[in-house]
């Protein structure tokens, strides 16, 4: 039985009358590259915020690496890394200063923090602008820095909310290779992305959330087989996604309504 990295039980979150996440039971095994998909407003970011301590659940429980998040938030946070929505950078620091700040916040000693910060900046191709403030970074540079900050303490689970958005192809290739190596070494990666090709290429397991409910979960093969009804199917993730999320015709936009555009 593989070790469970993330386990949620009836996890829910409401905002007034709106239920953003509704009784989610999610299980992610350690070392998996896990893709978390859903259309806009489905509850992906709300889920990732709850799993990383940025948002309190209305009800239900979460266990990360066998620890109850509500009871041991600091112990859990010590072992996870996050690239949140909006990146959460302190924009008046330089890239190096920010990484050193984050390293020290995670309890790394000064020398280790400095060494890792320098190596990460080098890897992310951010080392050649040592005096530039984060406020003056481009969006792609900020994304790379947020990723560097998320891994500086060597987390056992890495949460990535749209990590490749705005990152150039060269850096994206290097990042994918890095993430692949991390999962080989046992790091669990929990990734959300709207680019289904990226999820299909990187992830071994996928969950799909729709209107706050988990509507599918399993390995890519299991999901494909579930749609086509046969093992080893060549069905793409996009087809799987559309067949699950867009099952009711009401979900699909009607092009006839835009006849004036065609």
């Amino acid at each position: 039985m593989p070790e469970i990295a993330i386990c949620t039980q009836k996890l829910s979150r409401t905002f007034g009358n709106l239920t953003a996440v509704d009784g989610m039971n999610l299980e992610v095994a350690a070392g998996q590259f896990f893709g978390f998909l859903g259309p806009n407003g489905a509850g992906k970011s709300t889920t990732i915020k709850m799993l990383t301590g940025l948002l309190a659940p209305t009800s239900g429980s979460m266990e990360l690496l066998g620890l109850d998040f509500a009871a041991h938030p600091v112990d859990v946070k010590r072992q996870i890394g996050v690239v949140p929505e909006g990146m959460g950078l302190l924009e008046r620091l330089t890239g190096s200063e920010y990484l050193q700040f984050v390293g020290r916040m995670y309890g790394l000693d000064r020398a280790t923090t400095q060494r890792r910060a320098a190596e990460l900046l080098d890897f992310m191709q951010l080392a050649d602008r040592p005096k530039t403030l984060i406020a003056d970074y481009s969006h792609g540079m900020q994304k790379k820095l947020a990723l560097a900050a998320a891994v500086i303490h060597g987390p056992r689970i890495l949460f990535l909310d749209e990590p490749f958005e705005g990152v150039d192809a060269l850096a994206a290739g290097a990042l994918k290779a890095l993430l692949g190596r991390m999962t080989e070494r046992g790091t669990t990666i929990f990734l959300t992305s709207h680019v289904l090709e990226i999820v299909e290429r990187l992830c071994s397991h996928v969950a799909i959330i729709h209107k706050g409910r988990l509507v599918a979960q399993g390995s890519l093969e299991e999901l494909r087989a579930g749609i086509s009804g046969e093992a080893g199917s060549k069905t793409t993730l996009e087809e799987v996604f559309l067949s699950i999320v867009g099952q009711d015709g009401a979900e699909r936009p009607h092009l006839e309504e835009l006849s004036w555009l065609m």
Binding site: G88, L89, L90, M105, D136
Partner: protein, 550 residues
Amino acid sequence: MVDVGAPVGILTQIGLVAGLRWRMLRNGLRKKSNRFDLIGLIFVGILSAIFVFGLCFTFFAGAYNFLSTGRFGWLSLLFWGIFVFWQLFPIFAAGFGASFEFRTLLRFPLNLTSFYIISLAYGLADFSALASVCWLVSMMLGAAAAKPAVLPAMLLVVTLLLILNVTLERLIGSWFERLLSRRRTRELFFALFILSMVSLNLIEPIMHRYGAILRPLAHRIVPYFSWFPPALAGKAIASAAQAHFGGVVLSSVGLLLYAAVFSVFLWARFAKQYRGEELSETAAPAPVAPRAAAKVDNAPDHLSALSPQVAAIVRKEFRYLTRNSFSFFSLIVPPMLILILSAQLSEARPRGSQFHVSSEMLFPGIMAYLVLILMAPAYNCFAFEGRGIQTYFMAPVRFREVFLGKNLMLLSVLAVEMILSLAMLAWRLGLPSPPVFVATITAIVFAVVGQLSLANWSSLNFPRKLEFGQMRGQRQSGMAVLIAFGAQFLFGGLSAVILFAGRWTENRWFSAEAFTLLASAALGGYFASLDALSRVAEKKKEVLIEALWR
């Protein structure tokens, strides 16, 4: 076939932009936190109305009086007042292009002429422009009531002044926009602005010392002001009142020339913007430095006595302070004001005179002033974090550490400011007696530490995002200001009562003893509050992140 929209008339476009400004104001009030601000806005609105309509009467009476008593030359003064207000008020209060960047309109199918005209219409909707128009109309009515014959000239002059002023205001605005488009120049500008405001306090001492030299110089310069637009406007009306129509024409042509020159400059600026001028630094690639080898700093850690997390926050706070030129330079203000104040007091009331101001009285007063000024930002201590606030919630720390780091930095700043101020005071007026010195220091510990718990609580409950190096839209949360005011009143009042009780009982050490007791209680309360505040932070994190995200 795709339908393409029909061309839109200029009036429709002006109407659309006016509607946009109104909707932005209305939608901004939808959020609950902003509704508190609505009360403040209504209050400011009432005060502004009193200010505008009060001055309307003044301008009406001024124009009527000067024309009916034959003091025509004085009319220029009224025009000068309006001119200066119209041009300077936007710089002080409204700023340029922070909440709505006018150039964003360029993505729509506007030609340069439409862009130019809409910009002028936009400028006419500013408070300074609306108020100035009201005052010009009041002047016109006053002038017509005194001498009906000047009405046509007044109409001409007011129209020319209106075009001239709105064009110049937009021109200065666009120059400022250009100047302030870069973060560093923006921060430097606001730092200089603060310093120049403080320097106004130096006018009186300078005039006192060098007035005799400066006065003749000023008399030589004043005649040159007669060539400026307000003076020309005054001359035109004075000529009309004396039926010298040549003078009216000459002055009006002068005003027209000014308007034409400003229009040419403004057209050139807008033409550049229209062609896609981009000035912000993020659009330009940053200079690339040769890649340096990774190096480890082996220098001793001066904050090793603190936990790594608290030390990291202190360092980060220090960096933020030094990079926020507005806040950093404002630290110069208190010692500078104390220097000016103590210098003026020691000169005006020298030692030995009946009304000599001693440091016995001034020292507690000055320290209370420092606490009042420097504690105010603590009531919204996350203001400059922006989205970075998430870092504190993602990291394995409790908010106890975050507050300790932030409060330590504030206390360090306070200590440095106090030492500087004490040095200034000792230099100009001498040191206070030991009982007063100890009583004041312990009173500060009591007042500052006592306030910190409240300030931390206020920061969690009423956060408001502030931007570095910006003045426009930089309003603190109304509730945070109220709490700060209440707390300062409470602690300041209590401290004053204890200080006076010491004098009244003639027990020189009574105040020091009482404050030592209170300071100990405040310290105990502060450390006890940190865990409770960590729990509050956990409950309030969504409010905090949401407020600082925007």
